[in-house]
Amino acid sequence: MYSQKVMDHFTNPRNVGEIPDADGVGEVGNPRCGDIMKIFIKVDGDIITDVKFQTFGCAAAIATSSMATELIKGKTLDEALAITNKTVADALDGLPAIKMHCSVLAEDGLRAAIEDYKRKMGLITEDEMAKPHEHIHDCADDEAANG
């Protein structure tokens, strides 16, 4: 069901934990639906120097969180924002169709963390914040759920 890369990131997730003095924190998901993700970033200039995550969810949720943190570490904010759930899923050699929504969580978490940072820095206002994806796990998207 899962690729070896997914299993690798599930069994040895990179960058687990929290950053107490994080510059930006993103939290997405909903425990009702069985997945929550929290991302912490440290930013220096416009480079993401450190990143950590916590995830409540399935193996795909954990692996995509882990891969997403790997992908953005050392990148500029703009580079990080260019990362989509598909980038993350591809980097994991793909995900089963019914698990694609878990990778959306990682993308949304990332964005939320970067925007939190920008808001704290006064770079954007509340209104300018991008809306996260409709969260598939709780918004009945039958296609995704039934594969």
């Binding site: 599930f10 997730p13 687990v16 639906c33 069985g34 929550i36 929290k38 009945a140 759920a145």
Partner: protein, 395 residues
């Protein structure tokens, strides 16, 4: 990791060698169509009638009340749709519970679309249905009560004897899904006042794809599978002869050893529950503490999600199951866990371990040994656990 421990016997079991041995000749030499009058047909016919007898004996029925089907799902579909359509003149109301298997629930939901009315009775925190609720739900339009003998997820054994009595008094047909109960408890359709009963071979070391529906003599239900005249004109399709032979042998073996099985499984079950709960905090037992199937362990581990637990266990060679939505690919976690009142996130963290004849004390101890690390590792990743720890520190 070469160790393999199977603890998902409620999902399916392997076929016991004695069962397979009896089936084998019917694939090749004795392959005849039981409806045929020549030699090959007669030998197949005799064999399936012997199997019918065995199924009947196992549940205290007459052989003429046993109809072979393709499994528990077909038996449930047949009983419910059959009784609903046949009872249309009397009424259109069905009573069932919120914790039935999907084979019952989805059938009832389909019937609702076709204009039937269904009452889904609630259960208490242990998953028990209150017989008084059944009595109160009956109207003069009620044509069927369908309540399971024992629940497949949390193992709770329902008071079907009392429900049967109420149904009989009120003149309403009573169907029970006994798919999980066969081999774990004694069942006698007569003393239980059961009009219809579903069972499925692969839950008690028989083959998959074969089951039976018991229909009490005189009960009026429409046919479900239309076609040839097999099964005394009530269930069409060429008989799955090897499957039927396997079902007969398996139910004979399973019901002959109920006391030993109960003793063995109950001991392992209680050891497993105690072992895990002693070692891991924030765990709760789902289902009834004592009125439960001897092989069923269902626990919720707070702050973590079930699929990741299953995969971690699988990496250590242990096969189990979970009520998490992430496992099933559906949107919600188990309807059974929600019905007993678990919050969504706790239902997501459920783990079901169902024991079988082949499990040993060492198997149980191995799971007790490896599970704490798995849970701990997942909790360390969980934002919910981090919050909880934060709260605890702040107290």
């Amino acid at each position: 990791m070469d160790r393999k421990i199977y603890m998902d016997h409620a999902a399916t079991t392997y076929v016991k060698p004695e069962v397979l041995d009896e089936m084998l000749p019917y694939f090749t030499d004795k392959f005849g169509n039981p409806s045929s009058i020549y030699f090959y047909g007669r030998e197949a016919k005799e064999a399936i009638e012997m199997a019918r007898e065995k199924v009947a004996v196992a549940i205290g029925a007459e052989p003429s009340g046993i109809y072979f089907t393709s499994g528990g799902t077909e038996s449930d579909n047949w009983a419910i749709k059959g009784a609903a359509f046949a009872g249309k003149k009397k009424g259109n109301h069905i009573i069932t519970s919120a914790i039935e298997h999907h084979a019952v629930l989805h059938t009832c939901q389909y019937l609702e679309k076709l204009g039937f009315e269904v009452t889904y009775l609630p259960v208490d925190q242990y998953g028990l249905i209150n017989p008084d609720d059944v009595r109160r739900a009956i109207t003069d339009k009620t044509v069927l009560i369908s309540i399971m003998t024992a629940n497949n997820e949390i193992g709770t054994i329902e008071p079907i004897s009392e429900i049967g009595k109420i149904a009989r008094e009120q003149g309403v047909y009573f169907h029970t899904d006994a798919v999980q109960a066969i081999g774990s408890m004694d069942i006698d359709v007569k003393s239980l006042n059961v009009d219809m009963l579903s069972l499925s071979g692969h839950k008690f070391y028989g083959p998959k794809g074969i089951g039976a529906l018991y229909i009490k003599k005189g009960v009026k239900i429409d046919q479900f599978m239309h076609g040839g005249a097999q099964e005394r004109n009530r269930r069409a399709s060429t008989e799955n002869v090897p499957g039927i032979i396997g079902l007969g042998k398996a139910i004979e073996l399973a019901t002959a050893t109920i006391p030993q099985r109960r003793e063995h499984l109950t001991r392992l079950r209680d050891r497993l529950i105690k072992g895990i709960m002693d070692k891991i905090p924030f765990v709760r037992l789902n289902g009834h503490p004592t009125e439960r199937l001897p092989g069923n362990v269902n626990l919720s581990f707070e702050f973590i999600e079930g699929e990741s637990m299953l995969l971690s266990l699988d990496l250590k060679g242990v096969a189990a199951s979970s009520g998490s939505a992430c496992t099933s690919g559906s949107l919600d976690p188990s309807h059974v866990l929600l019905a007993i009142g678990l919050p969504h996130e706790v239902a997501h963290g459920s783990l079901r371990l169902t024991l079988g004849d082949d499990n040993t004390e060492e198997d149980v101890d191995y799971v007790i040994e490896i599970l704490p690390d798995i849970v701990e590792r997942l909790r360390q990743m969980s934002p919910l656990f981090a919050e909880r720890e934060g709260e605890l520190k702040n107290v």
